[in-house]
């Protein structure tokens, strides 16, 4: 199912990045990235492994600090926030990890309760249970509520990871390789879930992937990260109509393999 193209209001950027640079030792990963993400869109960031896609969303969520440049999320400059302000911002920015990062000593219920209990300390047990059940239903895994993460499949873990993020009702969702390591059918289910989440919770999303099927099915806009900078941005068709050899080789590799 290819996502229906919709009109994006380009006057309302919720994430704005200018001249972002990030290096690890001598290795320069991001070399002056400029990017704007608009309210309500699904932006897919494509690129080969090791091009800094995950680093980009870790900087957006404040897990990594930029070496240079400006990163503004929901009008706040991430690198200048105090710890308390950053915590407050993080309640509005959900992060779904590549390996789900579920707390392996807790059940699914405890995993989902954890961010809720810690950030809304006045909630009653009944309300917590209702929130947990609602969000589990949204990802279609109500039956797993008492299971441990080790008892779940890779696709189920991804869904629970997304549910744990959704429970705080974020305005922005950051997905790190949501379909990596999954079989094609589960990939389709995850892609559909990303679209459903966007429609139901009205989130703005950045989806990091190197899976072109995922990009085509979930993205309103594609941005291709090559050599530490965005080489090209546009709709899926616009991006892959490009004559740039690097873009073409990426396309050919994905769709001819």
């Amino acid at each position: 199912m290819v996502r229906e193209q919709k009109a994006i209001d380009r006057s309302n950027a919720v994430i704005s990045i200018k001249g972002l640079k990030k290096a690890f030792g001598d290795l320069e990963v991001l070399r002056g990235v400029d990017l704007e993400v608009y309210q309500g869109e699904n932006l897919v960031v494509l690129g080969r492994s090791g091009t800094g896609k995950s680093v980009l969303i870790k900087v957006i969520s404040g897990l990594l600090l930029p070496d240079a440049g400006e990163v503004e999320v929901l009008g706040e400059s991430v690198e200048h926030l105090s710890t308390r302000e950053l915590m407050a911002l993080r309640l509005k920015v959900g992060f779904s990890f590549q390996n789900s990062a579920l707390y392996d000593s807790m059940t699914v219920r405890q995993n989902l309760e954890f961010p809720l209990v810690r950030n809304s300390r006045n909630l009653r047990r009944k309300e917590i249970n209702r929130e947990v059940e609602d969000v589990l239903e949204a990802v279609g895994l109500s039956q797993t509520i008492e299971q441990m993460p080790s008892e779940l499949s890779g696709g189920q873990r991804k869904r629970i990871g997304i549910a744990r993020t959704l429970i705080l009702r974020p305005e922005i969702m950051l997905y790190d390789e949501p379909t990596a390591g999954l079989d094609p059918i589960t990939c389709i289910e995850i892609n559909n879930l990303i679209n459903e989440v966007q429609e139901k919770y009205k989130t703005t999303s950045i989806i990091i992937t190197h899976d072109l099927t995922c990009a085509k099915e979930t993205g309103d806009r594609i941005a291709m990260l090559l050599d530490g900078q965005f080489a090209i941005q546009g709709t899926f068709d616009e991006v892959f109509a490009s004559k740039d050899e690097r873009v073409q080789s990426f396309y050919n590799y994905n769709f001819t393999q």
Partner: protein, 268 residues
């Protein structure tokens, strides 16, 4: 920097030594920052009471069987090993006094701390290390929870509170073991044995043991958490974190023991 091409005066051997020194001083500075962060965060709300109690249960209650067995055996073995030397001077009646000093001043704190370093320290190193490499700590951070406070501060507080209690418990169990040995060989009564034990130990002994145990507990918590929280390089890093947590904690416990004994002796 390649020592062969960049600077002809730096031999490969000098280069390796300088790199190791560099990394050692960086490690000390990093650990210092870690301890400083603990003191910065421990007094600032929100307080993680529930997690602290859970960790106290993990550190204290779950260590009881091992500590009981080790303490009991230590008491019996030390008594049996000391008896022949005292018997040479016809001084076996001094056994309870000798045992109480040895157990309260040195054996109970050391044995408990070393066992806790092995059991609790390695557990903390491995648990936090595995959470780090599987991005669970990052997940906590992005869900607006301070992982340092939740994971590290609670664990360090738990070991700092629980090790002194475990040490007192070990001392009691070891004294019971020693009593059984003394009773079966010298037919000393329970009341006679323990009145001699309590006559020998002073307030300074109890105070210094409690203080020492608190320092040991803090050390075990800090070292275990530091190695786990800063582990890297996947599963190999987790194993290394657990191993380093035990080795470093044991080494520091002996160093602290020497220093504290010297200080306490100055007050005797």
């Amino acid at each position: 920097m390649d020592p062969n091409t960049e600077n002809p005066n730096i031999t490969p051997r000098k280069y390796v030594i300088s790199k190791k020194l560099d990394s050692m001083f960086f490690g000390i500075y990093h650990a210092y920052q870690f301890v400083l962060r603990f003191f910065r965060e421990v007094f600032v709300p929100p307080y993680e009471f529930k997690e602290i109690i859970h960790q106290c249960y993990e550190v204290g209650y779950k260590s009881l069987p091992l500590i009981s067995l080790t303490g009991f055996i230590t008491g019996i073995v030390f008594t049996n090993q000391s008896r022949p030397s005292l018997a040479n001077f016809g001084a076996t009646s001094w056994l309870p006094s000798l045992i109480s000093i040895a157990i309260i001043r040195a054996l109970a704190p050391l044995v408990t701390a070393l066992i806790a370093a092995g059991k609790v320290g390695s557990n903390m190193g491995a648990e936090l290390g595995s959470m780090k490499v599987t991005e669970q700590i990052d997940a906590m951070e992005v869900s607006a929870t301070n992982p340092f406070k939740y994971l590290v501060v609670s664990r360090i507080l738990a070991t700092t509170f629980m090790i002194p209690i475990l040490v007192m418990y070990t001392a009691c169990v070891a004294l019971m073991g020693a009593f059984l040995s003394v009773h079966s060989n010298e037919q000393t009564s329970f009341s006679m044995f323990f009145s001699q034990v309590f006559d020998t130990i002073s307030f300074l002994d109890i105070f210094s043991t409690t203080f020492k145990s608190t320092v040991f507990g803090f050390t075990i918590g800090v070292v275990g958490c530091y190695h786990g929280y800063n582990s890297s390089k996947g599963t190999e890093g987790v194993g290394r974190a657990a191993n380093s947590a035990v080795v470093a904690a044991m080494f520091l416990i002996f160093v602290e023991e020497i220093i504290i004994v010297q200080i306490v002796n100055a007050f005797r």
